[in-house]
Symmetry: C2
Subunit: 162 residues, 2 copies
DNA sequence: CATCACTAGTTAAATTTTCAACTAGTGCTA
DNA sequence: TAGCACTAGTTGAAAATTTAACTAGTGATG
């Protein structure tokens, strides 16, 4: 086992379990979503974020940040959704460089139809199997992690090695 | 908020935190790996799995299963690594339909050079920030989840809705 | 041992994602 | 207010991934 110095074996095991299960979970969720609603995970998340935003609209950059998408990936994603009538795109009033993605009525309808299926899938694949302590632990770990990574991304970044 | 019926708000929050932080973590790990070692996450995992396998070789299907890759994705992945000299491919002795990926010396060397950096990155981005109880909890949750999803994939599958 | 349903893996085409320019607009500074 | 560095977002080409055939081999059944 070349690869397990420097990370104690407990943590190495945790890492492996986390990575593998997450991978499986994500592909499972994608498949369900695709089967139930003909949406990708990304599509769904865009719809959720827009539906929650004031005016059902969000700047491209803001959306990219929340989805953890590169700018060009978001451009592509949104134009694909636009083609399918789920969102539209409008120039941003106060910054003429920018544009905002806007949820359409069809997009909202699609979301409200998809949501119950998706949530059921989150429950059956993950949440129903966790007791309250585990849920709390999950939240604590990933809230903190998310905050930390978000912060790291903003400033200079990277880890120690090099 | 169209999207939060049916999943209690505690669990919904856990889900969001988990998804977002994981996304960030994975892209961060990819970036580090790429910067330190010029490998993708997938490359790295292939090297790890092969290095641990008896004879440093694994059937394509077996590898695909463990990586959670589609067959065609794995074919592509391996031929790319073959081009770069990290693995070779040999016909499988006992099943003439099959082939196995074999770790090369160069592949092993690459792995031993990459591993410390990668592990450091796992530590700094995730593990160093978790106390032992959290590590234990993480392991418990994702071990169980992985087992469950692995089992579901084998049999008929899917969730309840529909 | 011929047939046939099934498994392993590959291939080609379409879609998605990345990567590296590039365009346009902003806003500070002199 | 001209110049300039920086930000927002897009674009085109290359790389990765998915999807749907497809090839070859296996193994059970009659």
């Amino acid at each position: 086992m070349v690869v397990t110095e420097s990370l104690d074996s407990t943590r190495a095991a945790a890492w492996r379990a986390y990575i593998e299960a997450s991978q499986r979970l994500f592909t499972q969720m994608e498949d369900d979503l695709r089967a139930d609603s003909d949406l990708s995970f990304a599509d769904y998340h865009v719809l959720v974020l827009l539906s929650e935003a004031p005016g059902q609209r969000l700047r491209m950059g803001e959306l990219a940040g929340r989805l953890v998408f590169s700018p060009s990936r978001l451009t592509y994603q949104i134009s694909s959704m636009q083609r399918r009538g789920l969102v539209s795109k409008e120039p941003c009033p106060d910054d003429r460089r920018g544009s905002e993605a806007v949820l359409t009525a069809a997009g909202l309808l699609t979301l409200t139809e998809a949501a119950p299926h998706h949530l059921a899938s989150v429950r059956t694949h993950l949440m129903d199997d966790l007791d309250d302590a585990e849920v709390a632990c999950l939240t604590r770990i990933f809230d903190r992690l998310g905050r930390r990574l978000r912060a790291a991304g903003t400033t200079s970044d990277t880890h120690a090695t090099r």
